[in-house]
Amino acid sequence: MPPRRTALLLIAGALLVAGLWLLSHRYSAAPIAWSADERRLMASLSIRNLPPLPPDPSNAVADDPAAAALGQALFFDPRPSANGMISCATCHQPIRRFTDGLPRAIALGRAARNTPSIVGTAYSTWYYWDGRRDSQWSQALSPLEDPKEHGSDRQLLFALIRDDDAYRAAYEKLFGPLPAKPDVVDIDRVFTNVGKAIAAYERRLLPGPSRFDDYVTHVTSGGDPAQQSWLSESELRGLRLFLGQARCTECHNGPLFTNHEFHNTGLLPPTGELPDRGRFDGLDAVRRDPFNCLGAFSDDPARRCDELEFVREGIELIGATRTPSLRNLGNTMPYQSKGQFATLAEVLRHYNEAPPSLIGHNEAKPLGLSARELADLEAFLHALDAPIAADAALLAAPRGYGSKPATDSPGGR
């Protein structure tokens, strides 16, 4: 072999080895040394840094256990529906983290958007994908009267509370006697009280600590990052990307992995639908909602409504939807406001590409991550799965309420 060719071969071999070493170094060495910034960011995401439940001054019974018990019974009761078969739990199924596994909710008809989880929403400032409600209790009201969801109405709800002995007793203990000859305002009062009881129940549904949270506790309490068994190497690489290059924490931040804000991320509408106008229309709706923070049914005498009063408006909101929490994605597929993606891999691919939005503009920027990096990110997201931090008794229809047993399935009878 001529010396020149040998030299070339040697150089090529050396380059190959160096390349392989770099690759293996990049992909297999566990990123165990976290910077101070990364540690700080990690700690800010830990469920153990979740502040105490924020008070809801608009709901006087928010923290009353009796209201929560009544709310739980109502939540699982299919009677407040046009066909007697749809309860809140039809779409918000405890077994699926209070979602339904469908791209868009199906109750009496098909709703416009994907069923979001209820877990941890007591911390939200806005409700629904488009933020068209501003409290947990006012959120609970709209599905009851939506012809595609429960298809009930406030008069029927009034009659249900009046005619069911257990409901009536619980209601009157909490809110005072039911009027014998109710006027429109009385009916609205009972309707909103039903929402407040349901919210008192929903407030108690909070996410529990995941493997990620245990890992953060270990790292931030001075444990050796190398001596741990909570996260795999792939998950650790995913975590590093999550905190940095993948820019996830720009929106998915805080212990619930959401900033509770609205962003346009360039999602395509499903076939047969116009692009979702999102928050642009949701803002209009919440301002007109008679049950909003400024409305007559808030229990807050001070009517302090900073969120509504200082709310952002403008064309930036076109096509923007609410940032969902990333806790418990393993059980809440499909994803996005219209259930556009069946898998997390598809979601991550979308954010990696950040394609232009049909309406408004996509706030995300292309990330340029490799397939391997996306797989690591996906692995990490599953490290956020954990059981709900609530008594098992809260996850099913309660006993001792209602004149007939509640069901959580429309096909149950």
Partner: protein, 317 residues
């Protein structure tokens, strides 16, 4: 060839094409600067079409090379459209004028209904207008947009083709140009922070959320958030101490607040404003919240009598 020219001249960004004849005055879809624009009388909108199920996020300005359910989008460049009644009708282009069809040619058609393939009823659609039509057949079509604003009626027509219309190599070439164009738009449409005559930056670490100082030519502001440390996702207030260049408190100034994240093309998540004057020169700002970690700008436009100054406070969360 002529219709090809008419298409190309609309992609006005490429300099060699600037020699093309001037754009027709009435209606149509034209590229201006970096946008595909429709002129409905004096009302203008950014016009685009998508076929999500076939070509995803691919944006078309005039001709749609694929057939399928098409989303028509008009993003208003004129506020008048937000309150206008807008009506979109799609008709088969039987004028025989191809891409040169004008309003007069459409008015000359004997029976508009007979050639209509889609007609979205007039609606008021604030912010952006969208409509949907599934094309079953390739061919030449004309879109007719009518807007009724302030009692006046405006019409724009835009001829376009759907699918493979047998024009040989042109679609590919145009596709290439469109891609280049999209690429160009992509890189040019990123909004840059507005230039300002007096730009003063004060940088501070989030942990030290004490007081931010910013000095201008006429005014000086010491801004203190009500929460320490300054964290995201928490509604809070700020206190602004406004002094003139000699250090004397300034009362009675109008302070307008704006801001956002320059790197993300978005503003503040709330609309904070001055809610009170606590003592001479001390202004209270309510409704402040940041919702992302990273670099933020708070823009204070201070006006007092005839003098006006814009101060920019930069902070990293």
């Amino acid at each position: 060839m002529f219709s090809a020219w008419s298409r190309i001249r609309r992609l006005a960004v490429l300099p060699l094409l600037l020699v093309a004849p001037p754009v027709a005055a009435h209606g149509g879809v034209v590229a201006e600067d970096d946008l595909c624009v429709i002129n409905i009388g004096y009302l203008r909108a950014h016009f685009k079409m998508f076929v999500p199920a076939v070509s995803g996020h691919r944006e078309y300005c005039e001709d749609i090379p694929v057939r399928g359910e098409t989303v028509f989008v008009m993003e208003y460049l004129h506020d008048g459209l937000s309150t206008a009644d807008i009506d979109l009708r799609i008709v088969r282009n039987t004028t025989g004028k191809g891409n040169f069809a004008r309003l007069a040619d459409i008015e000359a058609l004997p029976d508009l209904e007979a050639v209509t393939v889609s007609h979205a009823q007039a609606i008021v659609s604030p912010g952006v207008y969208t409509a949907l039509h599934g094309f079953d057949e390739d061919g030449e079509y004309i879109g007719i947009v009518q807007a009724e604003a302030a009692g006046k009626h405006y019409t724009a027509v835009f001829p376009f083709t759907v699918g493979d219309t047998g024009v040989g190599v042109w679609p590919w070439l145009l596709g290439g140009i469109v891609l280049l164009q999209l690429n160009f738009w992509y890189w040019t449409r990123r909004r840059r922070p507005a230039a300002t005559a007096a730009l003063f930056l004060a940088l501070s670490a989030p942990a030290a959320a004490d007081t931010f100082m910013v000095d201008g030519d006429r005014f000086r502001v010491a801004a203190t958030p009500s929460i320490d440390p300054l964290v995201i996702n928490d509604m809070h207030s700020w206190e602004l101490v406004l002094t003139d260049s000699d250090g004397a408190p300034v009362t009675g100034a109008n302070i307008d607040l704006a801001g956002g994240m320059p790197a993300h093309d978005h503003g503040l998540p709330t609309r904070p404003r001055v809610t009170g004057l606590e003592e001479p020169g001390r202004y209270r700002v309510d409704g402040m919240r940041f919702h992302m970690p990273g670099a933020w700008e708070l823009v204070l436009t201070i006006s007092l009598g005839a003098s006006r100054e814009r101060l920019v406070l930069a902070l990293v969360l």
